[in-house]
Structure formats: structure tokens, C-alpha cells
């Protein structure tokens, strides 16, 4: 298979996903199925087709540098599991 078990675990780590061993096996199969589809696309003859990252052929969409209303702080913090002094309180990490 194109994607190894080790790669699945690495990608899971990068995405901060804790996977059980059987989930790793399942995902290895599913990810490889996706890659098979990618392989089919890559096999197409795309001579003369410009690469694109977007479906719509538009560019340079910007907004003027004008202030718009912010959220009230109570709204901004409403879903915070914990807060202190108007800040999001987060548990000990790293260090």
C-alpha cells in the first residue's frame, strides 16, 4: 500500500488525533483508497491545462482598510471553557 501505518500515525500526531490501533488500520485503508482516486486523476492527460487552486477564475479580491464593529468581549469569550481577566484561560502546556 502507498501509505504506511507509520505515516498514518505521523499524520494523526500532526493533527493531534489519538487513534486506537484498529482505527489506524481502518484509516490506512481509507487513505489509500483516496490515493487511488488521486492516481486516477494524475493519469489524465492534462497537456495544455493550466494548474489552478480555485474553481472560479477570479483574482485580487480584497476589502478596503475600514474598521468594522468587533464582538462584545462577553460574546467573544462565551464559549471559552474557562476565562480570567477577560482572557481565555488555557491549561498548562509545553514548557
Amino acid at each position: 500500500m502507498a501509505i504506511s501505518e507509520e505515516q498514518v500515525r505521523h499524520v494523526a500526531t500532526l493533527a493531534r488525533l489519538g487513534l486506537r490501533d484498529e482505527q489506524v488500520a481502518e484509516l490506512q485503508v481509507e487513505l489509500n483508497d483516496i490515493l487511488v482516486q488521486i492516481d486516477r486523476i494524475q493519469a489524465l492527460d492534462l497537456t495544455g491545462v493550466e494548474p489552478t487552486t480555485h474553481a472560479a477564475a477570479i483574482t485580487n479580491v480584497t476589502r478596503p482598510d475600514v474598521v468594522r464593529p468587533c464582538l462584545p468581549r462577553s460574546e467573544a469569550l462565551r464559549n471559552a471553557p474557562e476565562q480570567q481577566d477577560g482572557a481565555f484561560l488555557i491549561p498548562k502546556f509545553g514548557g
Binding site: 468587533c70 477577560g86 514548557g95
Partner: protein
């Protein structure tokens, strides 16, 4: 950490340094992808919205002025502007980044290539051991071109306060508080080529970039407040080697001095490790300005694997000639051009031109003085601005903009010397009074009864009296002891209360004595 030790290490090792300069576009009204205002400080989480909080479904839209500011920076630094450019997502987890990805640019940045000329003079020249090979003047002064790899645009993160540890450090903290006011602020990242060879070159390069950004008005570039942050990659290689050694990244320098000192320290540290047969770890190191050393961050983070991919929420950018030319027309006069103009139009010596054009505010102040006195007196204006005025700024800890003595008053003082009302020596006194009292030069001159007597009749009278009562000295002078001229000048000046025009006194003395 002595300079000698640095030289010793640099004799066998060559430092290879590249800088990453992050500059917040503080001149903008709003953040990079949303309409929240850009300000420093303030109450936590009061300048946030669904976009900069990374709420699901919120759509970021690029700030057109941020894009323009970055293109302007690229044009000012000789970069090529990309015809086709776009934003990418840089994926990593850190609590100060609400979306768990940063919108940044990857292989298609706005600006590519470019560079600046950096002039090294003074003590810092000695760090470049091969300066003769790079065309240094006999006094050591040399100019080196530092290439720029790219300039791209991204968004800044929030700020964290770590609670419960020592000195607010994350080590030992029990929890942290996150404020997203800064999150989403437009951040311009400039990456230099690894063409910097000494700590002094790094400092001058960063200072030059800052000066250009200040001239463009895109940021306040305040290193202490963090609106300009300089990180350095540094490695050593044996002199003569072509391949780079393993590099360390040094962070947390919040002044140009810190940048210089951190690099000097890191060169010594790596030199010691390598001389002892050890190897350098590729790692991020933290500069501690108090302890004057770098230490490993020992972060438990996994190896960087950012999985960049094109930002699907934003369409690409194209920049055509018309757009680029329109922005080029908006470029102000840049520091190098300003310095050249001071030499060519005002006849200033190279050093004076460099100092005045190397400080945006001082240069602006100088030009206002020149406006007041006219170009023929520009040199006199430069002398006063770089002399007494700069000394006063240093003593008062003031800046040209909020100096008590404005450019119009200074111009008036120069004119009063030029028209012979007072002497240059008296002007120093008047300037000191201007600083002390805030009065206009004319008022001070009247109050102190200062007058410069240029009337040759009056001066001749005094000269004759002085010569008559010092016959012995006159004889000595005429016998060849010409150093006595100063004695006569002094006597005449004393006699006239310091108000005689020294040029006229000299002239008359010569006429009488050399006859």
C-alpha cells in the same frame, strides 16, 4: 565576552547569518483579514471578531492596503513583484493561534529577490576580517550588499501571559491567559539571504530595513513593543569552506544591540563547541538579555511539518505593470537617495549626509531648517543640527519631533550668525538659552545685550590700544612668533566683551602686525 575572543573565533570560523524580520503593519486601520482595528495594548479580547477568533465558517478577506504596503516594501528594496501570488495555510498547533493554521505565503510570495547596501564604519569594521577583500577603505569602512530572498504577508498571532512560573516564563507555569487582540494583525515577513558575515552587518542590515519601512510609513517598527521582530539563523563554517554548517535559530532580541550581542554570543558558543570537536544541534535558542546568553528552548514540539496548502478561502493575486507602476509612483524618497541628494545639492560631507539620511526624523528636521535658511546655508544647518542640536537631544532624551527647539527657531539662529548679528561662539550661548527658556533667538540676543561689533572703526580703535599696551609681544610676533596672534585676538575680544566679529578682528590684526 570580549571583542578579542570574537576575533579569535572568527579567525578560524566564518559566520553565516540570515535574518527573518517580521514587521506588523501598524499604520493600517484594520487587521489583515477582518475589520478589527489595529492598536497596541488595551483590554484583552476587545478587538476581536469571528474571523480573527477563527470561528468556523467565518470568511477572511485580505486588506487591500496591507497588500499595497507589502508591494511598496518590495519596490523600495529592489525586489521583483510576483505576477501571480497567493496565500497558503501553514498548519501547526499553538494556543495563541485560534484557527490552528496561520494564513501565510509559501512558494508564491508577493516579493522575490532584492537587497540593500549596508555601510559598515566605526568599531564594527574589525569584525569583518576579510574586509580588505570586500573593498574596505584604509580606515576599515566598507559597503556590502545583503540580498533579500523574499517578502511575504501573513497574519500575526495572539499574545499569551504564562501564570505561576518564574518571570512569566512558560516553564513552571500553571496555566496561561490568551489575548487575541493582536491575532490577525497584518505581518510582513522579510527573509534575507545568508549573506551576512558579522553581528555588526546584521545590526546595520536590520537598521536599514527598519529605516526604509519607517520612510514608507507602513509600520512604527517598535522593537521593544514587538511591532518589529528580528530572528537570526546563524552557523559557522571553516574559513575557505563553501558548504554551510548546521545552524541555530536565535529569537527574542528586542533591540538592535540585543541582535548584535546575541549573534556575537552565538558565534562564540558555536566556535567553542566546534573547536572542542562537538556538533551543533539544529534548534531554536532564546536570547536572555539579562544573562547575556542564548539557551535552547528544548521545546517538545514535533519536527516542523507545516503541510502548506493553498488557502481555499481566498482567490489568487495577479499584479500587472499598471498596478506596479501606480505603486512605484507612490514611493517616497528613500534613505540612499536622500543621502546622495544631501551631498550633491547641499554639498554635505559623506559622513554628515549619512547620519542625517540615516535617521528619518532628524533628516526631516534638517530639511525644515534648510527650508528656513535656504540651500546656501545648508552646511551651516547640518553643522548645527548634528552638533549642538543633537547633543541637546541626547542630553534631554528627546526626539527631533518633540524637541523644544523647533526648526524655524534654529533657522533664525543660523541666519543671525550669517548676517553677522552674532558670532558662531555667541550662537552656542544663544542655543543653550533657547533650550533653557524656549525664547526666540532675537529675544535672547536683546535680553543678553549680545551684539557682534563688525564696525571696523570701533575694532581698529581697540586693536590699536591692545597693540600699544603689549609692545613686547608685538616685537616677538614681528620677529616670527606668529603663534601670538591668538593672544592678541583674545585680548581684543576680552576688551570688547566678546562681541567683536572675530573675522574682522583677525583681518585688522593682520593688517596692523604684518604691515
Amino acid at each position: 565576552m570580549s571583542k578579542d575572543r570574537l576575533t579569535t573565533v572568527l579567525e578560524s570560523w566564518e559566520a553565516v547569518i540570515g535574518l527573518e524580520i517580521h514587521t506588523e503593519l501598524t499604520s493600517l486601520n484594520t487587521k489583515m483579514f477582518c475589520g478589527c482595528p489595529v492598536q497596541f495594548g488595551g483590554e484583552s479580547n476587545t478587538r476581536v471578531c469571528p474571523v480573527c477568533l477563527g470561528m468556523p465558517g467565518a470568511l477572511p478577506v485580505p486588506n487591500e492596503s496591507a497588500v499595497e504596503a507589502t508591494i511598496l516594501a518590495g519596490l523600495a528594496l529592489d525586489c521583483r513583484i510576483s505576477r501571480w501570488s497567493q496565500f497558503h495555510r501553514k498548519n501547526y498547533f499553538y494556543p495563541d493561534m485560534p484557527k490552528d493554521y496561520q494564513i501565510s505565503q509559501y512558494d508564491l510570495p508577493f516579493c522575490v529577490g532584492g537587497g540593500v547596501n549596508v555601510e559598515i564604519d566605526g568599531d564594527g569594521c574589525a569584525q569583518r576580517l576579510d574586509r580588505a577583500a570586500v573593498g574596505a577603505d584604509p580606515d576599515g569602512t566598507y559597503t556590502t550588499r545583503i540580498g533579500i530572498t523574499r517578502i511575504h504577508l501573513e497574519e500575526d498571532t495572539g499574545k499569551m501571559v504564562h501564570v505561576g512560573g518564574s518571570e512569566g516564563r512558560i516553564a513552571g507555569a500553571t496555566h496561561s491567559l490568551v489575548d487575541f487582540n493582536r491575532a490577525g494583525t497584518a505581518l510582513m515577513e522579510l527573509v534575507s539571504e545568508p549573506e551576512i558575515r558579522t553581528p555588526e552587518e546584521a545590526r546595520r542590515f536590520a537598521q536599514k530595513v527598519r529605516l526604509v519601512f519607517l520612510t514608507l510609513g507602513v509600520s512604527d517598527c517598535n522593537m521593544e513593543e514587538g511591532s518589529m521582530r528580528v530572528d537570526a539563523n546563524v552557523s559557522l563554517r571553516r574559513r575557505g569552506d563553501i558548504e554551510f554548517g548546521v545552524k541555530a535559530e536565535v529569537k527574542n532580541m528586542n533591540s538592535f544591540k540585543a541582535l548584535h550581542d546575541a549573534l556575537a554570543y552565538e558565534i562564540l558558543r558555536q566556535g567553542d563547541v566546534l573547536d572542542a570537536g562537538g556538533t551543533i544541534d539544529q534548534e531554536t535558542r532564546h536570547w536572555d538579555a539579562g544573562k547575556k546568553r542564548t539557551s535552547s528552548l528544548r521545546s517538545k514540539e514535533y519536527a516542523h511539518d507545516y503541510r502548506y496548502f493553498p488557502e481555499p478561502d481566498m482567490v489568487p493575486f495577479t499584479f500587472d505593470d499598471e498596478y506596479i507602476d501606480r505603486l512605484r509612483a507612490r514611493l517616497p524618497e528613500l534613505p540612499d537617495a536622500r543621502g546622495s541628494r544631501y551631498m550633491a545639492e547641499y554639498g554635505l560631507p559623506k559622513h554628515d549626509a549619512a547620519v542625517l539620511s540615516g535617521d528619518l526624523e532628524l533628516g526631516d528636521y534638517f530639511e525644515q531648517v534648510v527650508e528656513g535658511v535656504g540651500v546656501p546655508l545648508a552646511r551651516a544647518a547640518a553643522n548645527l543640527v548634528l552638533g549642538d542640536f543633537s547633543a541637546y537631544l541626547n542630553a534631554a532624551g528627546s526626539t527631533p519631533t518633540d524637541a523644544d527647539v523647533g526648526p524655524r527657531k534654529l533657522a533664525r539662529l543660523i541666519q543671525l550668525v550669517d548676517d553677522g548679528t552674532i558670532s558662531g561662539k555667541q550662537a552656542k550661548e544663544v542655543f543653550a538659552e533657547m533650550v533653557a527658556t524656549g525664547e526666540k533667538p532675537r529675544q535672547i540676543i536683546d535680553r543678553l545685550g549680545m551684539r557682534q561689533v563688525s564696525d571696523s572703526g570701533a575694532i581698529e580703535e581697540v586693536v590699536d590700544r591692545v597693540l600699544a599696551s603689549n609692545a613686547a609681544q608685538v616685537a616677538e610676533y614681528r620677529a616670527g612668533k606668529h603663534g601670538l596672534l591668538g593672544f592678541f585676538v583674545g585680548a581684543v575680544m576680552r576688551e570688547m566683551g566678546g562681541q567683536a566679529n572675530p573675522a574682522v578682528v583677525n583681518e585688522i590684526l593682520h593688517a596692523r602686525l604684518d604691515a
